[in-house]
């Protein structure tokens, strides 16, 4: 599903919806990237003209709107993302994209179950837009105030919400809720897609193995170039790939990997 053309584009923020104090949905006018994006791909954003920060930061594409705009979901995490969140409608954004391989769901699977944690919801929503039928989307958050979606989106995407403090929807985490659903599903025709905290995805990997469930994850790693040049974004594999390498590049070989490929004992951030 890899889409090879990459653009550098100065986009403009045309819409911004603050979901809570740390998260916002941002619409960026960037026709070239919008036209060529497929679900699972991301953009690499230069946040400042100065050196603060220096490197670009990667953000998943959450949707493409009216062909010309991409929708991003930005959470303030450290320096870069918080500066990005300070931008307003009318401000410019320096983008590189679309990047990465995108989801690929073999056609034998009739149902897709998405399990997302926090802003990990972004690449899964984009996929759901392409496969609106038979898509069960479970979204976990600590508490209702940290939900990275609007009420309207919950309805629109029929999101199954789990909050750890029970302040909204299911009382528990996304995995707990997933376990409730998995019982009712035919594992052979169901494909699992997940994006969120490494720990959550790691647990899902084990559960999927137990249930013989196929699936894919959207991985994260610190990125330098995002085009396969610096080799900074290595992800450790279970079985060596081409060149007998035990690593794959998150930016180019990923960010989407099958659940079986990745050695999730090794957190790419080292924590």
């Amino acid at each position: 599903m890899k889409n090879s053309k990459i653009f550098q584009e100065i986009g403009m923020i045309v819409d911004k919806e603050e979901l809570n104090s740390t998260t916002a949905i941002v619409h960026v006018h960037s026709p070239n990237i919008a036209k060529h994006s497929i679900p699972g791909q991301f953009v690499h954003i230069r946040i400042s003209d100065t050196f603060n920060p220096l490197l670009r930061r990667p953000f998943s594409i959450q949707n493409v709107i009216e062909q010309d705009n991409i929708e991003l979901l930005i959470r303030s995490y450290g320096r870069g993302s918080s500066y990005l969140l300070q931008k307003k409608i009318g401000d410019e954004v320096n983008l590189l994209g679309p990047l990465g391989n995108g989801w690929s769901v073999p056609s034998r699977f009739k149902t897709i179950v998405g399990v997302s944690g926090g802003v990990g919801v972004a690449p899964i929503l984009f996929l759901q837009n392409h496969f609106p039928e038979n898509f069960i989307h479970i979204l976990g958050a600590k508490t209702v105030g940290e939900l990275p979606v609007s009420r309207k989106m919950i309805q629109q995407y029929d999101l199954k919400i789990a909050t750890e403090d029970g302040s909204y929807g299911f009382y528990g985490n996304a995995i707990d809720l997933f376990l409730e659903y998995i019982q009712q599903l035919d594992v052979h025709s169901t494909f699992l897609v997940t994006c969120g905290p490494w720990k959550m995805m790691h647990e899902l990997q084990k559960i999927a193995k137990n249930f013989n469930l196929s699936g894919a994850i959207s991985a994260e790693a610190r990125m330098g170039c995002a085009v396969g040049v610096c080799q900074g974004c290595a992800i450790t594999l279970v079985t060596p790939s081409k060149l007998n390498s035990c690593f794959a590049l998150c930016c180019k070989d990923g960010p989407i990997f099958t659940l079986e490929q990745i050695n999730m004992e090794v957190n790419p951030f080292g924590n």
Binding site: S4, K5, I6, F7, Q8, R46, T50, F51, N52, P53, L54, L55, R56, R79, L96, A221, R222, M223, G224, C225, A226, V227, G228, V229, C230, Q231, G232, C233, A234, I235, T236, L243, N244, S245, C246, F247, V266, P268, F269, G270, N271
Partner: protein, 317 residues
């Protein structure tokens, strides 16, 4: 506006004095869609080694708070055989010159690599990366030792007639001595600097930010030091010096030329702005116009000729 941007590094003639640094432009093709390749006089491909290397464990990169970058990739590369068979042919008829970067664990490995490479005519020059540890000598970096540097340059010189550039590590106390050894043993040019050793710790998780604990430090924060090193070496040798380290805009590049660099390389900043070479080239030619110069090669004389290099240490503090 009619500014001649060509430059000569030994027998190597480049259309512009801007070169993509090793490790920051992959095998040459990755950025070709988004970059105007013609802004580069040459590109140096990722350092290759005798065997393929998978690279270091993760995490491998970290951005420091002041806009620097730490990396410990561990020279992940496809190895020389695959490079010659698969990567080099893709660069045939490329709109820019190809410089091949090599590194080995022992001196003889360097020699063998040059020999293998000499069969291909795709590349125009060699950049010898001497910042790596010599496994035979207990891991001392080649580039901090004059004797090892000498043997290394000699053996490479024997194996090819094409231009040899030796890439120096700034971790050597007397860089001008090392550069002199390169010149005396037949190198056509030296390039500097490679990365500085740096480190960062996540104080909350108590883990190093980079799996190997220490890493290579690059980007804007190293520029003032890199510039001083280039100035030091320019004043010590008469072969061309290729300057690099933290260059991220036209003004930075011009400082290196003024300090006497014949060409410059751009590393980290390419990740930030893949088309940075084009912007820098514009800025340089604009500056030449301002200073009534007809060619970028005249820049080297502007500052240099009016100064005397101070061979003793500057007393700063």
């Amino acid at each position: 506006m009619g500014i001649d941007t060509s430059c000569k590094i030994g027998k190597l003639q480049l259309t512009t004095p801007i070169i993509a640094a090793s490790g920051c432009f992959g095998y040459g093709t990755e950025y070709s869609e988004i970059c105007d390749l013609k802004a580069f006089g040459a590109i140096v491909t990722k350092t290759i080694t005798p065997q393929p290397r998978v690279g270091n464990s993760t995490p491998r990169i970290w951005e420091t708070p002041n806009g620097g970058m730490l990396n410990s990739i561990g020279l992940a590369n496809v190895g020389i055989d695959c490079y010659i068979k698969q990567k080099l042919p893709e660069l045939k008829n490329y709109p820019t010159k190809i410089i091949v970067s090599i590194a080995g664990n022992t001196i003889s490995e360097y020699g063998e690599m040059v020999e293998k490479l000499d069969a291909s005519d795709v590349w125009a020059a060699l950049e010898i990366n001497i910042s790596c540890p010599n496994v035979k000598e207990g891991g001392i970096s080649f580039g901090t030792n004059t004797r090892m540097t000498q043997d290394l340059v000699k053996i490479c010189r024997e194996k090819t007639t094409r231009p040899i550039i030796v890439k120096l590590t700034p971790m050597a106390t007397s860089l001008s001595e090392i550069a002199k050894v390169c010149e005396d043993n037949g190198a056509d040019a030296v390039s500097l600097v490679n990365t500085y050793v740096g480190m960062a710790i996540d104080i909350y998780s108590l883990k190093p930010r980079i799996a190997t604990i220490t890493a290579g430090y690059s980007g804007p924060p190293i520029k003032p030091m890199a510039l001083a090193r280039v100035w030091e070496v320019v004043n010590a040798v008469s072969i061309p010096v290729i300057g690099m380290g933290g260059i991220c805009c036209g003004e930075d590049a011009i400082e290196f030329f003024l300090a006497g660099a014949t060409a410059i390389e751009i590393g980290t900043m390419i990740y930030v702005e893949p088309n940075i070479a084009k912007n820098i080239l514009n800025d340089i030619t604009h500056y030449c116009t301002l200073k009534n110069l007809v060619s970028t090669s005249q820049l080297a004389g502007l500052f240099l000729k009016t100064r005397e290099f101070n061979t003793t240490c500057t007393i700063s503090g």
